[in-house]
């Protein structure tokens, strides 16, 4: 692998000083004879955003769904706050690639749906939903239905729903891949603000190198067949920059190049 010009931490074995919110230990997942994940170990520091980056078919979504408790690993274990994951739980919330909104429910009911499933009273859950609808910039659309909204607005609803259950860990499965480029950039900026303001752990699946470098505190590069973590990159100087100048930062450009160098052989 090419030596980077910048001094970000490259060494996978270096001890992690941060508090760990989520950890995967020797996780394997087989679909019949196909090994989707093999002996994967990875730690996710609390309050930070970790990207899972890799070519398609590298099992990044599989790993995310195992963390969510939607899939069971064939071997190994995922721990959230030191407790083993056995299924979905209130400590984790999921943001879906295709939004997964209820087409027959208004924005406010969709945002409050996670709370509704937890049996929170209607007025209380709608108060909470109202706040997060405002936070994601959808005030005035409470009574609209998903089919009346643009793709970007729908994903804001999905995000508000995940935020409103106040989970410690936010799992995002390529959340911006189904929205247009301009909207995606706005989302990425908003996500940086979200990571800075909310004390949550974000796990973010993406196939975009630029997106991963832009939003991440830590980037785990997954290589396919069978999937394993090939590299962990922690950009050091990007968090202090304001969101507009990151894309012009030499460190940003170096990391993007470096990741592309390591991934290009896996792209047909």
């Amino acid at each position: 692998m090419a030596m980077p010009q910048t001094n970000h931490a490259m060494d996978q074995s270096s001890p992690v000083t941060q508090d760990i919110a989520v950890s995967a230990h020797n996780v394997s997942k087989n679909y019949g004879p196909v090994e989707a994940l093999k002996d994967l170990t990875l730690e996710f520091p609390r309050g930070q955003l970790t990207s899972l980056l890799g070519p398609s078919g590298c099992g990044k979504t599989t790993l995310l769904k195992i963390i969510a408790g939607l899939l069971e690993p064939t071997a190994g274990e995922v721990q959230v706050d030191g407790k083993a994951v056995t299924g979905p739980g209130p400590d984790r919330a999921f943001v879906f690639q295709d939004f997964a909104l209820l087409p027959w429910a208004s924005v406010i009911r969709n945002v409050a749906f996670g709370l509704e499933l937890r049996g929170i009273a209607k007025t209380e859950r709608e108060d909470i939903a109202e706040k997060y609808i405002k936070d994601v910039g959808l005030s005035g659309f409470e009574k609209s239905f998903p089919h009346e909204l643009s793709g970007g607005m729908r994903q804001r609803v999905g995000l508000a729903r995940a935020l409103s259950v106040d989970a410690d860990v936010l799992l995002m499965d390529e959340p911006f891949s189904a929205v247009d480029e301009q909207t995606r950039r706005k989302f990425q900026e908003d996500l940086l603000a979200l990571v800075a303001n909310e004390n949550k752990t974000f796990i973010f699946v993406t196939h975009s190198i630029e997106e991963a470098v832009y939003v991440s505190d830590q980037i785990a590069i997954l290589l396919p067949r069978p999937s394993r973590v090939s590299d962990i990159i922690r950009p050091t100087g990007l968090r202090e920059k304001d969101s507009h100048s990151i894309r012009r930062d030499p460190e940003y450009l170096d990391i993007v190049d470096e990741i592309w160098d390591s991934l290009r052989t896996y792209v047909e």
Binding site: R92, F96, A100, P103, W104, F113, R118, P146, H147
Partner: protein
């Protein structure tokens, strides 16, 4: 459709077929086909008669009860089959057999089992309607967007909450499609049941009018019945269109 630049309202072609009927009737081709105008006149006469109203009440009662049972049993069964592989394997062959079976042949058996009365007619209507309702509910549940299911699961939905808040609504367009076809089949079931028993409802009226060669009366009842069945079907089709976006992929 447009004709000579004029936009025709829906079902304008019925006017042409009505005219054809009238002409054939006037030509006295067969005593079996009286002119449409005579049928319509008789229709208003017949509608006012106590015999008709009694028949309408009995038929509507049997029809509503039959449809109610077909829906109340059919939809949950279909959803269960769509969700549970074991139940599906157990029931699917039977549903398919009964869907295509000539159910009319079973009606005499029902009469023996349940007697010559309303009960048999209601069961006949249910048997005619239920299978397609089951199959459509099953198909509707099976095509629900996977991520909606994962969403419900990841936010900790109980099985009942997932059923009543997600599965049912996501499958509603298909379910209503099944109910619409089921209702049309239930009309058939009710009339066939009544005809084979021939002592109640429109079945009794048909028998009475046909045996006495009262063709205008006979056709009047047929027209009323067709119009009723068609209206119910159109109403359900309208509801189906209203909820079709429930099945949207995103």
């Amino acid at each position: 459709m447009k004709l000579f630049g004029i936009r025709l309202p829906g079902m304008s072609s019925l006017i042409i077929w009505g005219l054809v009927w009238e002409i054939i009737g006037r030509m006295e081709v067969s005593f079996f086909v009286p002119p449409l105008s005579a049928v319509i006149t008789t229709l208003f006469e017949v509608i006012g008669s106590p015999a008709f109203q009694k028949a309408l009440y009995e038929t509507a009662y049997a029809f509503c009860a039959g449809v109610f049972f077909a829906i109340a049993i059919g939809i949950p069964t279909g959803i269960l089959m769509g969700k549970n592989r074991l139940i599906d394997e157990l029931l699917l062959p039977w549903v398919n057999i009964f869907l295509s079976a000539p159910l009319t042949a079973l009606v005499p058996v029902l009469l023996v089992l349940f007697g010559f009365g309303m009960k048999s007619i209601i069961i006949t209507a249910t048997l005619f309607a239920i299978w397609i309702i089951i199959l459509n509910a099953r198909a509707g549940v099976m095509q629900i967007n996977r991520s909606l299911l994962e969403m419900a699961q990841s936010f900790g939905a109980t099985p009942w909450a997932a059923f009543s808040k997600v599965y049912f609504w996501a499958a509603l367009p298909e379910i209503l499609g099944g109910v619409r076809i089921g209702v049309i089949r239930a009309v058939k079931g009710v009339i066939i049941g009544q005809l084979l028993i021939s002592i109640v409802g429109f079945g009794a009226l048909f028998e009475l009018y046909a045996n006495n060669f009262l063709m205008e009366h006979f056709w009047a009842v047929v027209v009323v019945l067709f119009a009723l069945a068609f209206s119910i079907s159109e109403l359900l089709a309208y509801l189906e269109r209203r909820v079709s976006y429930y099945a949207a992929k995103r």
